[in-house]
């Protein structure tokens, strides 16, 4: 297997779902995907083409939210990142956890730190934040404000 045939196959299989392809370097390709077809794209890369699901990362870019699903083709040293853009007023996407277990915890983490809803997630509990953390406050968003009145933010000198 080689790099170009793999990219060609992805383009061919996800013809209607790809918004843009950014060929960053020999090891790295970003592919913009429509949010509604993420499950199809993940199925294609993970199940059909044998890529490994590395991790997903959620980014708050002020006017929109982005999720990058990183898939690696280890034998040809290629990292394909599926990029999904979500509008701030509708932060919903289909969960990938039913497809592969590796997406379970990272989706829980994105849910509590960024407030993205994953539809069809089997076990959406809190993962990292403590019990006393208020509902609806998302610490990794750009507009996060300190809510804890007891927090000490100086070094005392």
């Amino acid at each position: 297997m080689d790099r170009d045939p793999v990219l060609k196959e992805i383009r061919q299989k996800l013809k209607d779902d790809i918004l843009d392809v950014f060929d960053k370097s020999a090891k790295r390709v970003y592919i913009g995907i429509k949010p509604e077809s993420i499950r199809k794209a993940a199925q294609c890369l993970f199940k059909d083409m044998g890529a490994r699901f590395n991790i997903a990362s959620g980014v708050d870019v002020r006017d929109r939210m982005e999720i990058l699903y990183h898939f690696t083709f280890e034998d040809i040293n290629l990292l394909v990142s599926l990029r999904v853009t979500l509008p701030k007023d509708k932060l919903e996407i289909e969960s990938l956890a039913p497809l592969f277990e590796g997406a379970n915890w990272i989706e829980r983490e994105m849910n509590e730190l960024l407030g993205i809803t994953f539809k069809g997630h089997p076990d959406m509990r809190r993962l990292l934040l403590p019990e006393e953390w208020p509902q609806g406050v998302y610490p990794l968003r750009c507009d996060y404000k300190e809510w804890d009145k007891d927090a000490v933010r100086d070094r005392g000198v």
Binding site: P130, P139, D150, V152, R153, D154, R155, G156
Partner: protein, 145 residues
């Protein structure tokens, strides 16, 4: 500090607690136990359980989840005990001072006896800090007599 504490400090057993550190301070604490630095020549031993310890070594920036565990451990130390804060994170939270997850520094949660600064502090600094603490306690006890 009573005579009991002074007696314990002939051979203080230390318990090492990480409250969300990057593990660099923990590696330096473990370095202290290696033959090169050999902290046992001062009688110090790493205790496996907090209930056997006289000194509590704390590293890390005290995040929200570990604060509850820290308090629980501090309640279990046989008193009198000494608390040693190791590294910039447990002194003032270092670069994490504005983090949403680190609201309160260590010395606002439990009383701290020695601060050992550094990111991470060298094993020499850790040993020097603990030895200074022991000497101070012994001097105080001697002055009382």
């Amino acid at each position: 500090m009573g005579t009991k504490l002074e007696a314990l400090l002939k051979s203080p057993w230390v318990f090492h607690l990480s409250t969300g550190s990057c593990n660099n301070c923990d590696i330096e604490v473990l370095d202290c136990l290696t033959p090169r630095f050999d902290i046992e020549r001062f009688g110090m031993l790493l205790a496996g359980s907090i209930k056997h310890a006289d000194v509590l070594l704390v590293t890390g920036s005290c995040n929200r989840k570990s604060v509850a565990r820290l308090k629980r451990l501090y309640e279990q130390v046989p008193k009198p005990c000494l608390v040693v804060a190791i590294g910039e994170c447990s002194l003032s939270r270092g670069m994490f001072i504005h983090s949403y997850n680190c609201p309160v520094p260590l010395d606002k949660i439990i009383p701290v006896d020695v601060y050992i600064p550094g990111c991470p502090p060298k094993p020499e600094a850790i040993i020097a800090g603990v030895v200074k603490l022991i000497e101070r306690v012994q001097e105080k006890a001697a002055a009382k007599k």
